[in-house]
Symmetry: C3
Amino acid sequence: MEKEKKLSLILFSGDYDKAMAALILANSARELNMKVSIFFAFWGLCLIRDPEKMSLEDKTVYEKMLGMTAPKGPEDLPLSRMNMAGIGKAMLKQMMEDQDAPNLSAFLKGAQKKGVSFYICKLSLEIMGFTLEEMIPDVKIMTAKDYLQDALEADIELFI
Amino acid sequence: MEKEKKLSLILFSGDYDKAMAALILANSARELNMKVSIFFAFWGLCLIRDPEKMSLEDKTVYEKMLGMTAPKGPEDLPLSRMNMAGIGKAMLKQMMEDQDAPNLSAFLKGAQKKGVSFYICKLSLEIMGFTLEEMIPDVKIMTAKDYLQDALEADIELFI
Amino acid sequence: MEKEKKLSLILFSGDYDKAMAALILANSARELNMKVSIFFAFWGLCLIRDPEKMSLEDKTVYEKMLGMTAPKGPEDLPLSRMNMAGIGKAMLKQMMEDQDAPNLSAFLKGAQKKGVSFYICKLSLEIMGFTLEEMIPDVKIMTAKDYLQDALEADIELFI
């Protein structure tokens, strides 16, 4: 029997369109019965913030500022280009709806339901001052070394 | 005999400099007799738009707007940074000319002539409202699953 | 005995945060006894410019302009987002200091000390008008073909 194939993604970017690309690849890979890991780092953390669980407790001034200005969850992410203060994004979302394409939140929920493993970069979490409690459920903390060991088992590795 | 090596690229970005990086890697890989696939997704579609084949027929208002404002073909792409309303790009293009480096259109034609396989992301095409007829010739439509199966055969996979 | 594992990175981006991601991965891989190559291309060259070795000799007007406006060394790089004319970056650097995380220059020196191989893209160097003498020591020039042959030996390849 052939060894199970595996896809390993780092989602570094906090852009709506790039997050969508990552989740479409992840979901498609699961439909092909591949194993899938997403390692959320830096701005990628914004995608898995739970908008209803923001906390300002035990944070420095800078951590509070970042927590308040950085995007809060999937639908709050900007486009990587032509965002035009949100007009471009609203347009894109409408165009997706016209094509009956699900939105980013649906892709995100789908990924977890389909069994994509979500990992969060330990150092990014610390530097940005977020806590695991402010993130969506079922996300595990991983160091860069853990990521590398997980990626070494993969057949496709991408940095998005 | 050793198995043929293969390079698999996703070009997600619509930046002049990133598209150039992708095409230089693709052309160099062909010169090493590697197989090469480029999967154009999202903004990457702008690179393979044929500027003379734009159509507004059967498009929604948003699709028309996007079609008119998004870059039309290789020489219309902006730089990923220091674009400065086109001044930075004009400067870079002049510097490339001073070094006798070919421009992006030449790299693009070279890639197709050298046998690089061009694939376009089905979902991106639908969401952005472009049609295959508006693209340069010899581009095939592929789903995300097709991409993954193609990438599984590759030795190097990059997301650009 | 198992074959040594290898990580191959292209650093195309000239952003502070992306350069940090690249160096954290590179340093972590070395700590796992993996071989590591970083191929600096385009804006990535800004990271390895030696701020004290800038030269204007034998340069065209455009090369001088680019040399003066592009970031000079690690601490001069902007953030990929929320840079806000440097305020965002200053904030991030303070937050890193609060967590006792080293800054980008320290990660860069650490990488060379740990034995990460630094390669510079020949064509990028020529187009941007930089010389090897303006870069930090122990960087070798490589063509795109050399990069591909190096990456073919790697287990993980990422474009950052």
